[in-house]
C-alpha cells in the first residue's frame, strides 16, 4: 500500500442541509481511501452553525474545517480553498455550478490540471470521465501532486449520516482579500417546477411534435407525471420549445427513472444526454428511427395518437385518488 491519502472534500449546502452533490463527493473520496488508505476531511465555505452541525454528522468524515467567518465571493472562496488544499493529496467537489466556478480557480492557483466530471475511480490517480458529450469514456492518470476533481453526483452513492459522535471541527482563519463580485439576484427557478437535470420523470419531444401546440400536450403529461419537460435540438431549432429545455450534447444531460421520448429520431447528440436514464420509452411513427435501438420499449405510431390516451389515463388516476 502506498502512503496515506489526505482527501479534502469541498462541501456545499442547500438551505443548511448538506447538498446531494457533496454527499456523492464524500463517497468518491471514500473510494480513494479504499485504494491505499487515507483520511477524508470536509472543508466548508460557511460558518453557519446549522451547516457545521449537519456536516459533522456525515459518515466517513474525520474532520470538518470551518472558516472563521463565512467566505463571501467566488474569488475569495477559491483563495481560501487553495490555501487549505495545498496540504492535501486530493481535493474533491461534487459537479455543481459552484464547483464549476471555484475548482478551476483553485487548480490554476495550485498549478494543477483539474479532472472534471469523474464518473469512476480506478485508483488514487486514475479516473474515468466522459468526453464528447458522453459518447466516449476516457480513462486518465493524473501526474499532478494534488488531484483536483469534480465528481458527477449520479455516479457515486450518497453518503449517509453517522451514528454516535460527530466529527471534530477545526476553525481556520481566512486569508485577507477582497470579495469583489457581488451577487445581486438569485432566481430559484419556478416554484413547483421540476428541474430537468434532477427530474425522476422526463417527457421530451423532438421535431415530430410539429409545433409548440404539441409541446403543450407534452407539458401537460409531464405535469401529471410530476416530471420535467425536455426537447431535442431539432425541436428547439424549429422554435417548438425554448433553449433551456434542450437535452443532449449542446444542452443538458438527464438521468431520470423514466424517459418518455415523443417524435424523437434519436440522433447521437441527443442519446448521449439521456443514456443514464433507467427506462427509456420511445414513441415515433418511423419504425426505422434509431431511438428504438436505445429504448427499453417503444411504440411505432404518431405521438398524437398516444398522448391523449396517456393524459386521460393519468387524469382518471388522479380523479380516482381524490374520490
Amino acid at each position: 500500500m502506498s502512503t496515506d491519502h489526505e482527501i479534502l472534500v469541498f462541501a456545499e449546502f442547500v438551505q443548511g442541509a448538506v447538498a446531494d452533490a457533496t454527499r456523492s463527493a464524500i463517497s468518491a473520496a471514500a473510494e480513494i481511501v479504499r485504494f491505499g488508505g487515507g483520511r477524508v476531511t470536509l472543508l466548508l465555505g460557511t460558518s453557519a452553525s446549522e451547516a457545521v452541525a449537519s456536516a459533522s454528522r456525515l459518515a466517513g468524515v474525520g474532520t470538518v474545517i470551518v472558516p472563521q467567518e463565512t467566505v463571501e465571493g467566488v474569488g475569495r472562496l477559491s483563495d481560501f480553498v487553495s490555501v487549505v488544499a495545498s496540504d492535501y493529496t486530493h481535493l474533491i467537489a461534487g459537479s455543481s455550478s459552484l464547483a464549476r466556478a471555484v475548482l478551476p480557480r483553485v487548480s490554476a492557483s495550485l498549478d494543477v490540471m483539474q479532472i472534471s466530471d469523474v464518473v469512476k475511480i480506478l485508483d488514487h490517480d486514475t479516473f474515468v470521465r466522459p468526453i464528447y458529450g458522453g459518447s466516449i469514456l476516457a480513462t486518465l492518470q493524473s501526474q499532478d501532486s494534488i488531484k483536483v476533481i469534480t465528481a458527477r453526483s449520479l455516479s457515486f452513492p450518497s453518503c449517509e449520516d453517522r451514528p454516535g459522535e460527530p466529527a471534530k471541527v477545526q476553525v481556520r482563519s481566512v486569508p485577507e482579500g477582497m470579495a469583489r463580485s457581488r451577487v445581486i439576484e438569485v432566481e430559484v427557478g419556478e416554484v413547483g417546477k421540476v428541474e430537468l437535470a434532477t427530474a425522476r420523470v422526463v417527457v421530451a419531444g423532438g421535431a415530430g411534435m410539429l409545433g409548440a401546440e404539441g409541446f403543450s400536450q407534452l407539458g401537460e403529461l409531464a405535469r401529471l407525471l410530476g416530471g420535467a419537460l425536455g426537447a431535442t435540438r431539432a425541436a428547439v431549432d424549429r422554435g417548438y420549445a425554448s433553449k433551456d429545455l434542450q437535452i443532449g450534447q449542446s444542452g443538458k444531460s438527464v438521468a431520470p427513472d423514466l424517459y418518455l421520448a415523443f417524435g424523437i429520431s434519436g440522433a447521437v447528440q441527443h442519446i448521449v444526454g439521456i443514456k443514464d436514464a433507467k427506462t427509456i420509452v420511445a414513441i415515433n411513427k418511423d419504425a426505422d428511427a434509431p431511438i428504438f435501438k436505445f429504448s427499453d420499449f417503444g411504440m411505432v405510431c404518431d405521438a398524437f395518437e398516444v398522448l391523449p390516451a396517456l393524459i386521460a389515463s393519468l387524469k382518471n388516476r388522479d380523479a380516482m385518488r381524490k374520490a
Partner: protein, 249 residues
C-alpha cells in the same frame, strides 16, 4: 474597450466520433471541424457589444495547428476585428490553454475576455475560471445574459437550479452558455473580406510557459448505449408496460 474572444476548433458536434483502434485516442483525422458552439455564443456576444459601441475592438484568439487559422477567418467574417493564431502542434490541456490566454491578455490588455463555458470535445469546462484565477480577475460562469455599463458588468449565470446574477468591475472573464444568444450566419461579402484579412501569428512555445500535459491517457472506449428495444403494438400495451415495469401511472 477591448474584448478578447477565445475560440476552439472542435470536431463538428453533429458527427459521431470513434475511438482509435489502439483505444488510446479519438479518431478525429479528416472529420469536419467547426468552431466550438459555446465559443460561437461568446463571439456573437462580443460582436453585439461592439455594435452597441460598448466594445471597440474584438480580438479572436485560437490556439492550435494550422487549421485553426481557417476558423479564425470565420470569426473575422462573423465580426471580429482582429485574429491571433497561437500556433501549437500539440493539443494543450485546459491549464496550458489558460496560461497561453493569460499571456495574450498581458500583451493585449483587454477589459473583457469572453469564451464558451466548455468545449464540446474534452468538456472540462475549466479554462474560463482558470484564466480569471491566473489574471486575478473576477468571473461570470455560464452566462445567459450580459450587461455592461460604466465598467460594471452584470452577468446572469445559469446555476444548478435557476440563475444567480452577479455584478463586478471590469476587467473580467465571462463564459457563455448556449442560451446567451443565437449566433449569426455571416454574409457572403464578409466571408470574402475575411479571406483576405491578416491573421496574426505567434507560437505557444515563445510565451515561455510550462505547457506540458498533466494527464496521461490510459484508455478510451465507447459505452454501449443500446437497449432491449421491445416494440409494443397498442396504447393499452404501452400503458400496461408503464404501470408494470416503470412503476408509473
Amino acid at each position: 474597450m477591448k474584448a478578447i474572444v477565445a475560440i476552439k476548433r472542435v470536431v463538428d458536434p453533429n458527427i459521431e466520433v470513434r475511438v482509435t483502434p489502439d483505444g488510446m485516442g479519438v479518431a478525429t483525422a479528416n472529420l469536419k471541424s467547426t468552431m466550438n458552439p459555446y465559443d460561437e455564443n461568446a463571439l456573437e456576444e462580443a460582436v453585439r457589444l461592439k455594435e452597441q459601441a460598448i466594445v471597440t475592438e474584438v480580438v479572436a484568439v485560437s490556439i492550435g495547428s494550422k487549421a485553426a487559422e481557417e476558423m479564425l477567418r470565420g470569426a473575422l467574417a462573423q465580426g471580429a476585428t482582429r485574429a491571433v493564431h497561437v500556433e501549437s502542434a500539440e493539443p494543450l490541456d485546459s491549464l496550458a490553454v489558460a496560461k497561453v490566454l493569460a499571456a495574450i491578455c498581458e500583451r493585449e490588455d483587454p477589459a473583457l475576455v469572453l469564451l464558451g463555458r466548455q468545449a464540446v470535445d474534452d468538456e472540462c469546462g475549466a479554462v474560463g475560471a482558470m484564466l480569471a484565477s491566473l489574471l486575478n480577475w473576477d468571473q461570470g460562469i455560464c452566462a445567459s445574459k450580459i450587461h455592461i455599463a460604466d465598467r460594471i458588468v452584470t452577468v446572469r449565470q445559469s446555476a444548478d437550479s435557476g440563475t444567480v446574477t452577479v455584478e463586478m468591475e471590469l476587467p473580467a472573464v465571462v463564459t457563455a452558455d448556449f442560451c446567451l444568444n443565437t449566433p449569426r450566419t455571416p454574409g457572403f461579402a464578409s466571408i470574402v473580406a475575411a479571406k483576405r484579412a491578416k491573421v496574426e501569428k505567434i507560437t505557444a512555445a515563445s510565451l515561455g510557459k510550462d505547457l506540458r500535459p498533466r494527464h496521461k491517457i490510459v484508455h478510451m472506449e465507447q459505452p454501449d448505449a443500446g437497449r432491449g428495444g421491445v416494440i409494443l403494438e397498442t396504447v393499452e400495451g404501452l400503458l400496461e408496460k408503464l404501470k408494470m415495469e416503470a412503476g408509473f401511472m
